[in-house]
């Protein structure tokens, strides 16, 4: 497992960007939770709070023309890839200006303008899709990569193993990023997997694999960066087990997440808050000042407030949209 760096070999601009993006996701999710309580968001809402360093660290080493695809806890990945928070919030509100015109919702965010290939909510099913994206990149002779995020809950599924095998067999440029937050809904990893060191599954398929501290945005950035490099130049997949933790429950219907884990465990994990840790490190390294961070905070809060205002103001989709986008008409 990659160790935390003792010194920060990044510049102030990057520090600002990483911190600001993590704070944006955190604030966005807090506002989403609030909006859910107010009845503005329905259905299932899975918050990314606690896991921000994964999406932000990984996306920071991707190019805009690289692809990303995720499961249903994907607000963070969508925002990190560059989607407009206003349109993401409008999608959660089920409004016409949402990313997917209000047809996708929290679990199905797509943004073609930033090569974000969705939010997929059948556990494990988007892994073969990511393999297909890698297949297409190679077929077309491109040098992009596809970053695929999934939870450790997908690892017992057959499609995880099919996708690992196919990408290794065919040498496809996919970076598998397993967000191991230790609980698939209420089932702990110990109750789900005979091998809980997930990165080891990659070894079996001959895939470069390692585990990394998911609460350390720079460690994630470094490990994913190496994997992206391999994918881009050698067209080989990598499996990265990112050890993270969700501070909230599985979804808003499990707000505390208290039945299957202890309060002490949650409190202990919160001490590893990726935003608080990184904030402290950049302050200590003198990369940003308290005043800089206050400015970032204000900016992030303003952007999220603006997103909520935008979503509130956006009308519901017109009824005739019920039957549009079912089939693509002839060009």
């Amino acid at each position: 497992m990659a160790q935390k760096k003792q010194t920060l070999d990044i510049d102030g601009d990057l520090a600002r960007r990483l911190l600001s993006e993590m704070m944006l996701i955190r604030r966005f999710e807090e506002k989403a939770a609030e909006s859910y309580a107010l009845g503005k968001i329905g259905g299932f809402l899975h918050l990314y709070i606690g896991e921000e360093a994964v999406a932000v660290g990984a996306t920071s080493v991707l190019r805009p023309d690289d692809y990303a695809i995720s499961a249903y806890r994907e607000h963070g990945h969508t925002l990190a890839k560059g989607a407009d928070p206003r349109r993401v919030m409008a999608e959660l509100f089920g409004r016409r200006d949402g990313l997917c015109r209000g047809k996708g919702g929290s679990m199905h965010l797509f943004d073609k303008s930033v090569n974000f290939l969705g939010g997929h909510a059948i556990v494990g099913a988007h892994l073969p899709l990511a393999a297909g994206v890698g297949f297409a990149i190679k077929y077309q002779g491109g040098d992009q990569v596809c970053a695929c995020y999934f939870g450790e809950g997908a690892v017992p599924q057959g499609e995880f193993h099919e996708a690992m095998n196919l990408t290794a067999l065919w040498k496809l440029p996919v970076v598998w990023i397993c967000e191991n937050n230790r609980y698939a809904m209420g089932t702990s990893i110990e109750r789900a997997l005979s091998q809980t060191e997930i990165w080891k599954f990659g070894q079996i398929y001959g895939i470069s694999s390692e585990a990394v501290d998911g609460m350390d945005v720079l460690a994630v950035r470094e490990v994913v960066g190496r994997a992206v490099g391999r994918a881009r130049t050698q067209k080989t997949p990598s499996l990265i087990e990112v050890r993270t933790y969700r501070f909230r429950g599985h979804s808003m219907r499990d707000p505390a997440g208290a039945v299957y884990r202890t309060k002490e465990e949650v409190e202990r994990e919160k001490l590893r808050d990726p935003i608080a840790l990184f904030r402290q490190r950049v302050l200590e390294a003198g990369l940003l000042s308290e005043a800089d961070i206050r400015t970032l905070e204000k900016d992030v809060n303003d952007r999220v407030d603006d997103a909520v205002t935008f979503a509130d103001a956006s009308p519901e989709p017109p009824l005739e949209w019920l039957l549009t986008d079912v089939y693509k008409e002839d060009a």
């Binding site: 290939l117 297909g132 297409a136």
Partner: protein, 329 residues
């Protein structure tokens, strides 16, 4: 027009579309080196190479997902199911990924994919390899479903399916691969999806049937013609979208309808067509719509039981006579 087999017609369609569009590739079990389990892809590896004729391990969900993912970012995959029964393992990729992507992404990502292979009753292949698979797919908004009965249809419809921007389920038949028929050689010959064919014109009763049942209905029509009953046979060819206009038009002319399907009857295609006719042409009907369907049982192995499982000529004939209120001559 050349006379070729249904299998050769499919092969021509694949070859022509792969020549026409470099984004088209074929992926599946034994499609390359083995030349296709049913030889539909024969010679394609030799012409197009392993980049575009991709042999896969046995992992239906995995390679179907690869097809869907590749289609999202610009390719046009043809996924072969060695038999459509194996598509059950990929049902989630077909239903939850391929069919819904365009809708749930609000029109951002479309999935131009064809999933093809043989399905339907075959010869003593028993319960897991011999069944009508279309029912699992035509229910799903976002999918198109094709069942081509003739070599000409096989070619013209497959070419249209490959050029279509939506996921198309294209189910062939082991029992028809050797059937011969006239097929145009023009590489731009297409049959649009969603157009039925009137296989035989008649005035007394409309029989709606496709694939093997369509051929059985033709035999029935020949025999009943000798009794003075004139049967019109409509082959839907595409089950979704269905050419309901041709079906209703025919029923308005004949005032009687019999729907034949090989699969188990409960909630089958016959139910849908019979309901549609009743809703839209009730006043034109001189008799209730009859359904002749496969038995509501899995496919048995024993030859006599297998024969009893799918609608016989006698059963179809009896249904036609019933709607014509005649006991036959």
């Amino acid at each position: 027009m050349a006379v070729i087999t249904y299998r050769e017609a499919l092969n021509q369609a694949l070859r022509e579309e792969m020549r026409r569009d470099p984004r088209v590739f074929i992926i599946g079990e034994e499609v390359g080196l083995y030349d296709g389990a049913y030889k539909v892809t024969q010679g394609l590896l030799k012409e197009f190479g392993p980049k575009r004729v991709v042999d896969t391990p046995i992992a239906e969900s995995g390679f179907t997902g690869v097809g869907v993912g590749s289609a999202m970012v610009g390719l046009r995959p043809v996924v072969e199911m060695m038999t459509f029964n194996f598509a059950m393992l990929a049902l989630d990729q077909i239903v939850n990924s391929a069919a819904k992507m365009y809708y749930m992404s609000g029109g951002q990502y479309h999935v131009p994919i064809v999933i093809r292979g043989p399905g339907g009753p075959a010869h003593q292949l028993a319960a897991q390899h011999s069944q009508s698979m279309e029912v699992y797919f035509y229910h799903v908004p976002g999918l198109k479903v094709v069942r081509p009965s003739t070599p000409m249809d096989a070619k013209g419809l497959l070419k249209s399916a490959i050029r279509d921007d939506n996921p198309v389920i294209f189910i062939e038949s082991e029992t028809l691969y050797a059937v011969k028929g006239e097929v145009p050689e023009d590489p731009d010959f297409l049959i649009p999806l969603g157009q039925a064919a009137v296989r035989r014109e008649g005035t007394d009763v409309t029989v709606i049937a496709y694939m093997g049942m369509m051929y059985r209905a033709l035999e029935v029509a020949d025999e009943l013609a000798r009794e003075g009953i004139s049967v019109e046979i409509v082959d839907p060819r595409t089950l979704r979208p269905m050419d309901t206009g041709t079906i209703i038009g025919s029923v308005r002319k004949t005032h009687r309808a019999v729907v034949v399907e090989a699969g188990a009857g409960f909630a089958g295609m016959g139910s849908e067509i019979a309901a549609f006719i009743t809703e839209h042409a009730f006043d034109d009907l001189d008799a209730p719509v009859e359904r002749v369907t496969g038995a509501n049982a899995p496919m048995p192995y024993a030859r006599n039981l297998e024969r009893a499982k799918t609608p016989s000529k006698e059963k179809i004939m009896a249904a036609v006579r019933r709607v014509c209120y005649t006991n036959g001559g």
